[in-house]
């Protein structure tokens, strides 16, 4: 039997189509309504409330807490300030990515790290001879994401606190209806948004407060399908979809380095040591073989493939998560593969996230992409774009 999250009592009756999916051993809503359209537009136009409790969460405390994290991840945790949140990948000794997540600095010697997969053992293995405690709080801490342009107004009312001083990737503590919570200005949508962290036992009153304060602002409970479109627009990669963890990779070619995932900005070579440093350093010197980029499918070319058959173009309004071959501009050689794609209702563009050979990674580079039209494999024109595709000012404002 799969587990349910601390919000299940509220989310279960909302699920009109019983459209659930698995996430880290939990059931969560794919969409609450029969289609995810309105949930998507809530992310971009009002506010969406997402149950993100299945994330893995670890509390790392102690004198050497930041030393431990600095050994593990590529970002410089020691330099971070209390109240700051860092996004970071972490690697094996060969500089290939194991997982990615966020690290919130709750205190000088107190951190919370989130991840897509279990990392208790990995953190422990790296903590030898360090004065640090690692607690798996995945089940103990429930979390909600409140994302969208109205997120701040709603949360300010629920927490009865001004949040304008909480900048992008910063956190604050607050109280919602007497329940202590941590609010981080983070999310997986590339929009203005927050994540709210609380003890699982008091999750329901927090949900209720947010729904109540959010209703006049158009809050909509939102499932994973809508989130998937938003995160592609935001150019945010997803473990097991856009890259394979070294833990699961069966062959070398399945692994990716942070540089190959275009996460160069997260690698702090200033740090004398972290897992994979030497390998990544050497890779930087010779240049990464692959890059992770945005690729836009050309509309006119796609439409033509359908029109010649007397059909209107069919668009992926639900994001796809399969590997699709990418070829060079002439279509003569395969130069990469797209791993996620969707029609962006807000940008009116067909977007994909893709791995391409480094020399094809420059924005503007013409490519062709395989599309299946009426059972036949065709190729449409496509162009490399810089990420994120969608980056509203309000995200950081």
């Amino acid at each position: 039997m799969l587990r349910t999250t601390p919000f299940h009592e509220r989310t279960a009756p909302l699920s009109l189509g019983q459209n659930w999916r698995r996430w880290a051993g939990y059931t969560v809503a794919s969409s609450y309504e029969l289609s995810h359209d309105r949930e998507y537009f809530a992310i971009r136009n009002s506010a969406a409330l997402l149950d993100v409790s299945p994330l893995y969460k670890y509390h790392v405390n102690g004198r050497d807490a930041s030393r431990l994290l600095d050994r593990v991840v590529t970002r410089d945790v020691g330099k971070s300030k209390v109240g700051q949140v860092l996004y970071t990948p972490w690697c094996d000794a060969h500089g290939k990515v194991i997982d990615d997540g966020t690290i919130a600095r709750l205190g000088e010697q107190s951190f919370r790290i989130t991840s897509a997969e279990p990392n208790f053992r990995w953190l422990g293995d790296n903590a030898r001879r360090l004065d640090v405690s690692i607690d798996d709080v995945s089940d103990r801490i429930a979390s909600l994401a409140l994302q969208g342009p109205n997120a701040r107004s709603i949360l300010e009312q629920a927490a009865e606190q001004d949040l304008t001083s909480v900048k992008y990737f910063r956190l604050t503590t607050a109280s919602i209806r007497g329940t202590p919570v941590t609010i981080t200005r983070t999310g997986y949508t590339g929009d203005l948004g927050y994540e709210i962290w609380m003890e699982a036992g008091v999750a329901i009153p927090v949900w209720d407060a947010l729904i109540q304060c959010g209703t006049p602002y158009g809050i909509v409970p939102c499932g994973i399908l809508a989130l998937d479109v938003a995160r592609i627009e935001a150019g945010l990669l997803l473990l097991d979809v856009d890259y394979v963890s070294t833990r699961h990779a069966l062959i070398e070619a399945q692994k990716s380095s942070p540089l190959e995932l275009s996460l160069d900005w997260t690698v702090s070579f200033d740090k004398p040591h972290f897992n994979g440093r030497a390998a990544i350093h050497a890779e930087r010197a010779r240049g990464a073989a692959w890059k992770f980029v945005g690729v836009e499918v050309d509309w006119v070319s796609l439409e033509e493939l359908f029109t010649t058959l007397g059909l209107a173009p069919r668009l992926p309004t639900q994001a796809w998560r399969t590997s699709v071959p990418l070829y060079d501009g002439n279509g003569s050689a395969q130069v990469g593969y797209a791993t996620s794609g969707c029609w962006s209702p807000i940008l009116k563009r067909y977007l994909t996230l893709a791995h391409v050979e480094a020399r094809y990674a420059k924005p503007g580079t013409p490519l062709t992409i395989e599309v299946t039209v009426e059972h036949r494999r065709k190729r449409a024109l496509a162009t490399v774009r810089s990420l994120p595709f969608f980056n509203p000012e309000r995200k950081r404002a």
Binding site: L34, N45, P216, A312, W343, P345, I346, K348
Partner: protein, 530 residues
């Protein structure tokens, strides 16, 4: 670029969406252009205004479907702020306390139809498929300059061939259906498909929007198709709501046009289009200033352009005659309300998903036809057909938190009402609208904080659209394609060298489509006058 200093390569009269689209495309081609807008904001009939503090209204045109995807793409309108939100359902409350619903989910709609008629539930899919084929056949025509079938010019012959080939893909059955759509009344056409009265009434209502026709008037079936051609994300018949109201669409086009180098002058009224020896020379402004250009593009309706801004002696007599005969026939009004709370519909009590879609007041064919009868004899409908939406339910920013705006499109309100419109009639018309809503939502009156009633006369006074028709002339077959607005003048040109038309009175007609603006720009660039 060979711009003579101080001169414009083109002057566009009217900052409605078509004028703005036209300016954007001309500017994109390197032309120095200026748009002259009489009001303090761009948009024409596609404007958002805060007519009551804190409440924003799409004052006239209120939904979007027809805006051409190629324009959104080519002008990169999403980057300029265009966001289209889905408007998913339509509910028709009936006077017996029941309702007919059409929802975003296919199964849900089907189940709903089964409640009314098992046969219709099955016919519905087939009907949808037929209309899809019709829309596919008509779609390329939206992007073509209408060829003149009486002309032997190679371009016209090529155009007619292209036009004909377009229908080659249609099966015989489909061709017959298309012919029927072009000639029948929407009521008769729907009778061939459905038996449920309220379903036919609601569908036929989209065949009368913005026209002076009843559901039993021959030719009204075409308007069904006109409203079916709208396309959002590749799906036909998708209706949407622009975030920020329809004014946001105009603003996004204006922003694109400005970025491309177009100049937009607000509060600038043109009083005359000047010509000499059959050539356009520029415009005279109400201020007395003159602007010189060899090209003037009008986005206004043809009566306003040719009968008020130009001297009759400057135009061919038969052309003036045709423009006089052109039927505009304003037939609809608009009521915009600021609400303290949402109305509670007897048929679906409480607040629900139906508040996020359209509410159609079209309970029966007879109701709609009788609404037309009033108008036929020169009165507004005592019991009008109405299309109601609550934009604040789709975009909460349209009203203060917890409050709402209601947009009511009302038909019929004839522009040439007996004795003319006045304040008393306007209020009586507004009362008739609220009375009619009250029949299905008894608490409506108590929720109204502010009411704005717009008669066709008001629409004309504010926007300048003759007879207050937002389509700039009836969408009747005798005024479409190569006959819009006048035989021989359907190719976006006027009868003088350098004079062009790009408004809804040109092919392919009304709605926030922008096709006229884009096609006209293409023709102007082809002629090479500057």
């Amino acid at each position: 670029m060979t711009t003579r200093s101080g001169r414009y390569d083109a002057i566009i009269i009217g900052g409605g969406h078509n004028g703005l689209v036209n300016a954007a495309y001309l500017a994109r081609a390197g032309r120095k252009v200026v748009v002259l807008e009489r009001r303090h904001l761009v948009g024409g009939a596609a404007v958002t205004e805060e007519i009551y503090p804190g409440f924003k209204f799409s004052v006239f045109s209120y939904v979007v479907s027809l805006l051409r995807p190629e324009i959104i793409r080519e002008l990169d309108l999403p980057r300029h702020g265009l966001e289209i939100l889905p408007l998913e359902s339509t509910i028709t409350p009936m006077f017996n306390g029941d309702y007919l619903g059409s929802w975003a989910d296919h199964d849900q709609t089907r189940q709903e139809l089964v409640r009314h008629s098992r046969r219709d539930a099955e016919a519905y899919d087939e009907y949808g498929k037929l209309m899809h084929h019709m829309a596919m056949a008509v779609k390329p025509i939206l992007a073509m300059v209408p060829p003149d079938p009486t002309s032997m010019a190679p371009s016209d012959l090529r155009g007619m061939l292209k036009f004909g080939l377009n229908f080659r893909s249609l099966s015989r059955k489909h061709f017959h259906a298309l012919y029927k759509l072009m000639t029948m009344s929407s009521g008769d056409f729907l009778d061939e498909w459905f038996e449920t009265d309220v379903l036919k009434a609601t569908k036929s209502a989209s065949g009368i929007i913005g026209t002076f026709m009843g559901p039993r008037t021959p030719g009204s079936a075409y308007v069904l198709l006109h409203h079916y051609m709208g396309e959002i994300d590749g799906a036909f018949r998708a209706w949407g709501f622009a975030k920020g109201g329809t004014g946001a669409i105009s603003e996004s086009i204006a922003s694109a046009a400005r970025e491309l180098g177009a100049e937009i002058r607000l509060n600038t009224t043109v009083s005359q289009i000047k010509s000499t020896g059959g050539r356009i020379t520029g415009v005279v402004l109400e201020s007395g200033d003159e602007l010189a250009s060899d090209v003037v593009v009008t986005s206004l309706d043809p009566k306003r352009t040719f009968l008020t801004l130009m001297e009759e002696r400057d135009l061919p007599a038969d052309f003036v005659q045709d423009i006089r005969r052109y039927k505009i026939r304003g037939s609809s009004g608009k009521v915009n309300c600021a609400l303290s709370a949402l109305p509670d519909f007897t048929c679906l009590p409480g607040i629900g998903p139906h508040h996020r879609g359209a509410i159609s007041i079209s309970p029966s064919m007879e109701y709609v036809e009788r609404a037309y009868d009033d108008a036929k004899y020169g009165e507004f409908s005592r019991r009008p057909y109405m299309d109601i939406v609550f934009p604040s339910m789709i975009d909460p920013q349209m009203a203060p938190p917890g409050r709402h705006v209601m947009s009511v499109f009302v038909q019929y309100a004839p522009s040439n009402i007996n004795g003319g419109w006045d304040a008393t009639k306007r209020e009586a018309f507004g009362d008739a609208v609220i009375d009619a809503i009250e029949r299905v939502a008894p608490n409506i009156r108590g929720t109204i904080l502010h009411r704005q009633v717009l008669t066709p006369q008001d629409i004309e006074d504010i926007t300048g659209l003759t007879e207050g028709n937002i389509f700039q002339g009836e969408l009747a077959l005798h005024q479409l394609f190569f006959l819009r607005p006048a035989p021989g003048w359907a190719k976006f040109r006027g009868p003088l060298r350098g004079l062009y038309q790009c408004g809804a009175a040109t092919h392919p007609g009304g709605g926030i489509m922008g096709a006229g603006g884009r096609l006209a720009a293409r023709e102007i660039l082809k002629d090479g006058i500057r």
